[in-house]
Amino acid sequence: MDAFLLQILNGLDKGSAYALIALGLTLIFGTLGVVNFAHGALFMIGAFCAVTLQKIFSLSYETVDPDKTDFLGNPLKVKTPYVESWFGPEFGGAIIDWSVPLAILFAIPIMVAVGFIMERGLIKHFYKRPHADQILVTFGLAIVLQEVIKYFYGANPIPTPAPDALNGVANLGAVIGMDLIYPVWRIVYFCFACLIIGGVFAFLQFTTFGMVVRAGMADRETVGLLGINIDRRFTIMFGIAAAVAGLAGVMYTPINSPNYHMGMDFLVLSFVVVVVGGMGSLPGAVLAGFLLGILESFASMEWAINLIPGINQIIIYLVAIIILLVRPRGLMGRKGVMED
């Protein structure tokens, strides 16, 4: 029983990662109609915002410790972070410790800027071009972003731990008299995802912004004839999408150490999530994210694997196929969005 509950938690957690990425993607792909293969790269850049901030906080000066030697037998150079010498080891240490949550503040302006630049500089020329061209250009961009990150940070994963205070496990089951321990950071991640998802929904629901952008996607020209500067709104939308992707990345870093190709690992999956959710539907994307996350967790349980060998490898794709065959437009897709 608690194994079951634990898998539901895992599923929600995985699902919140999928949902968050799919949410950003669906803003661009499902709403603006741009097949953005660079979305994974945005997620990755978000993660590297956290890495960078951690690096900045840990910038150090070197002092020579004559008592110790390095691997070549020379005196060892000891590094002390500047923040520790400025604010004292305690507070300075805490700053470094909290670099991931702090990176949220750092990442928002950066990601919005990245989104703006990307849209203004590149994507805006591609709204009218065939999807195939969009794929090629955004894929090219994804490679470039990835390689640039690799050039500066290497290919190896870079550990970016959560603050110590959030690093442990919490017993969620205590309330119901069960033993259900779960990592604190994953709970934080889940709550954070809900927050972001809620925020984006509210923004699009309670303002006309969403309607205008949808209209702009269906028919840019007519919207322009109604006096609306649709370009600007598309840019803003792109900025939001980039920020959502980036924040998903920032918060993900303590769960798995970021590396330069983490975006590509998530890319295909997030497209599947968006399409299963149904093109143009934000709730669909979120729902599909959670659904696939939970199913994936269940499929990795032993009885499932024993029942169908390899089910854990293919579950997502299998479910995607079934859903798309049963429901022509995914879970909640809108008619006519990228159906041809």
Binding site: T208, M211, V212, R214, A215, A218, D219, E221, T222, V223, G224, L225, L226, G227, I228, N229, I230, G280, R334, K335, G336, V337
Partner: protein, 251 residues
């Protein structure tokens, strides 16, 4: 910059009042094909101008050039609306300057309801008739307000397109075949509306295949053929001129 161009080169200046909307030596292309081939005409404040010509003459292209849709691409010429240089603007700026276009294929926006289609027109200023007032004009739309715009019948869509233009506070209304697909009774209705808003000072350019009808409504007429102007004068002149009618309008 805000200097009125000299229109002495323009064809047959029928009226002497200062032009409200002036189209001066406009040339436009679809890709490689040269469609609007140097057009000059003026529209005066508060008048209805009929823009006529056979299929493919370039009427739609002319209206789209004025509305700055970007296709066809205007390569030369100037367009002034009430001292504002439209030729330097993007379509949304032209719309803000007071231009309203009812496009020929209606362009109802998919995925939005009737009401949302109208709301969309009232997001950017200047805002014109209230939505309720538009429903009074077209009760049919009021009944269908929650329906998705594109599932309306052809005629209902046409009403919506006109209503959408009126939802904005425009100075010049460009109508591209507004009667198409409308039942005769409705055509009568719309005609009345057009006269009504004309009385309130609206300037209108109407493109219509039903030339007689349009000419009866209009003060002046411009006839296009293969991208150039072949006639510019009063509507009555066209109705009287047998030769003109049979050659360019087949009536």
């Amino acid at each position: 910059m805000n200097v009125k161009p000299d229109f002495s080169k323009g064809a047959n200046q029928a009226a002497t009042a200062p032009a409200f909307l002036s189209i001066w030596d406009v040339h436009a292309y679809y890709g490689e094909s040269y469609i609007v081939q140097g057009i000059n005409f003026n529209v005066h404040e508060g008048e209805i101008l009929a823009l006529l010509g056979r299929n493919g003459a370039g009427k739609t292209s002319t209206l789209r050039s004025i509305a700055r849709t970007g296709s066809p691409m205007v390569t030369r010429g100037e367009i002034w609306l009430d001292h504002q240089p439209l030729h330097l603007m993007a379509s949304h700026e032209a719309a803000a300057a007071g231009l309203g276009l009812v496009p020929e294929d209606r362009r109802i926006i998919a995925g939005l309801t009737v009401e949302e289609n109208l709301q969309l027109a009232q997001i950017a200023p200047p805002i014109g008739w209230s939505i309720e007032r538009l429903y009074e004009l077209f009760p049919r739309l009021g009944e269908r307000r929650k329906q998705e715009g594109v599932t309306l019948s052809g005629g209902e869509q046409q009403m919506l397109a006109i209503a959408r233009a009126l939802a904005r506070d425009i100075k010049v209304l460009l109508l591209d075949e507004p009667y198409e697909g409308l039942a005769p009774v409705i055509v009568d209705e719309i005609e009345k509306t057009l006269i009504h808003i004309k009385e309130q000072g609206m300037t209108t350019v109407i493109v219509e295949q039903n030339a007689v009808r349009a000419l009866q409504l209009a003060d002046r007429a411009v006839i296009l053929d293969t991208g150039g102007i072949v006639f510019d004068g009063t509507a009555a002149e066209v109705l009287e001129n047998e030769e003109l009618r049979s050659e360019y309008l087949a009536i």
